[in-house]
């Protein structure tokens, strides 16, 4: 078990290192380019040279990378050219806002998709199963860029019961959280539902379920005691991996609803060539994605005794 955890985290660190190199190379390989982006397109050649000299941009690439990595690990992400302040000062509050959105989404997606998935998988091919499957295909077919305007049209334009933006201008408000969360839930729950359904349907065909049925156990007891415990292992992994998708969805939703979160920050930085913010955002996004992947692998081993010892 300990070996597995160590191996998993080892490969996670390796991936993170490669990602950090790629990110650094993509954005900072050419020092002159960095100087232009930091000082602006109207800076003079001389200004850029002085800036590069002062900030150590004339050093060889490997040295610059190592220094950058060292600063990064200590939480020093550099200074944002767009927000005129330390990247960390902008980043952490934004990340907190996105965490609220992600937690709200997961709090709805997990129960909803597990219940629907189990209901559909219990009797494969039944009317309930077909209905749930088609509904989940339907909702995953509506991308966030489409469901956000459609839901806004219904709840803001037609019914007028929800606010159309979620900028939290007058402090946190639950009504402003509803639409962004709803958009993310609508797109995400279908996939988890289908995975849960597949897992449940597979468990229902196993011998131990047949034995339990033939023993004459009540149906409810078979489902709750025998089937669920095994059927819910796979969805655990899927839910964890969903966080990777959520980080993408968050960019669209935050842009649409003017939600002051991490995704909107990355986009704003990207469109304004604010490279230190882009670097920090990209690294954190990958860290969250890779971290949840590692956790899901380890969790899967803990939950599933059959693969624990090989």
């Amino acid at each position: 078990m300990l070996v597995l955890v160590a191996r998993r985290f080892g490969s996670m660190i390796l991936v993170m290192l490669v990602v950090s190199m790629l990110t650094f190379l993509a954005l900072e390989a050419d020092p002159g380019n960095v100087a232009t982006k930091v000082l602006g397109p109207y800076s003079t050649e001389q200004q850029r040279d002085i800036w590069m000299e002062r900030n150590g941009y004339n050093d060889p690439l490997p040295e610059r990378y190592l220094r950058w990595l060292g600063n990064f690990l200590q939480g020093d992400f550099g200074e944002s050219t767009r927000f005129r302040t330390d990247v960390a000062d902008v980043l952490w509050p934004r990340l907190g806002n996105t965490a609220i959105l992600a937690v709200a989404t997961m709090a709805l997606v997990i129960p909803l998709s597990l219940v629907l998935g189990v209901l559909a998988g219990m009797r494969e091919g039944s009317a309930t199963d077909r209905t749930i499957s088609v509904v989940s295909i339907f909702t995953t077919s509506i991308p966030e860029i489409a469901s956000a305007p459609i839901l806004t049209f219904i709840f803001v334009f037609l019914l007028g019961i929800l606010p159309g933006t979620s900028s939290f201008q007058d402090g946190f408000s639950i009504t402003q959280l509803i639409l962004p969360t709803l958009v993310l839930v609508l797109y995400d729950f279908g996939y988890v539902t289908r995975m849960t359904r597949a897992s449940m349907a597979e468990v229902m065909t196993t011998n131990y379920i047949r034995t339990a049925t033939l023993k004459g156990l009540p149906y409810r007891r078979i489902i709750v005691k025998h089937a669920l415990r095994n059927a819910l292992i796979a969805p655990f992994t899927v839910v964890m991996l969903q966080i990777n998708w959520l980080l993408s969805g968050v960019i669209v939703v935050e842009l649409f609803f003017a939600y002051k979160g991490f995704g909107a920050l990355l986009l704003e930085a990207a469109l304004n060539q604010d490279i230190y913010v882009i670097e920090a955002c990209a690294m954190i996004a990958v860290f969250v994605a890779v971290g949840t992947q590692a956790l899901s692998d380890i969790g899967y081993t803990v939950l599933n005794p059959r693969i624990r010892f090989n």
Binding site: V15, I142, P143, I145
Partner: protein
Amino acid sequence: MADAFSLPKRPSLAVRVFGPFLLLRESWVGMIGLSLVLFWVLVALFAPVLAPFPPNAPLMALQVPGADYPTAPSTLIDGVPAAEICAAIPGNAAQVDCGTFWLGTDLVGRDVLSRIIFGAQQVLIYAPLATFLAYLVGIPMGLWAGYSRGMADAVFSFISNVILSFPVLVLYVLILVTLPRSAAIIVAAVVFAAAPGIFRIVRGLAMDLRAREYVAAAETRGEPLWYILFMEILPNARGPLIVDAMLRLGYVIITIGTLAFIGLGMPPPDPDWGRMIAEGRTTINFMPHMALFPCLAISSLVLGFNLLADGLREVSLRD
């Protein structure tokens, strides 16, 4: 006597590749998906005939769906009588009645219906092209890694793990910020981001199929590597791959639309559903039609591909 030993005739290549599509009529879900996809393909093909107006022409700003163009022939638009503008529309014979904005117009005054119709062309050229190229990259790598294992497998798997560890949209933002933006770069970015996923699926299928007798037979015959990969393993993996391709196509359509929506898409002015949604977002509180109709367009096309995939999976599981 030779007849007794003759094998049943091998079905032609067309039947082997398109067979699953023929079986599709047994699945009503699949048929609905196929109809949706065919609908948009026909719309894209006949766009110049179907569109009532040129897609990029600024006609009358902020018209609601169903509004006539123009309201009166003498109405002045930018100082020019409407009738004259009508006459200038290509293919418009009638001088006064130049048509109706069935889905309204946008902020600049372009006809939303015409833009959706021409937008279908853009979607149905770039998304299948990008998906096809991603398969062209992912399939050989996956087959090779899954069949030979060893170093090739280790290297390709690590590369695909690194690429897949990026949240997709973050990866696109990184690529499109560093490189100049053009249609070719967007297609290349989609290939770069999608090929590792295809690699993984193909690799898994190849690892499963490499132990089959027909592969062993080909090895014994001394067939070259490419023959085993492309003539023995690939044809037997086609079922799951066709289903995957349909799902992926839907996903690539979403991706390209999303990139346009966040401002990293194809350069203007040609109509693009994602950018139409982004442009209509500002007026959604009083004129929702500008964003709403492109939303329905992209959702219905993606739904078509997803239902098609589900139908194909259903009929392929049957036998």
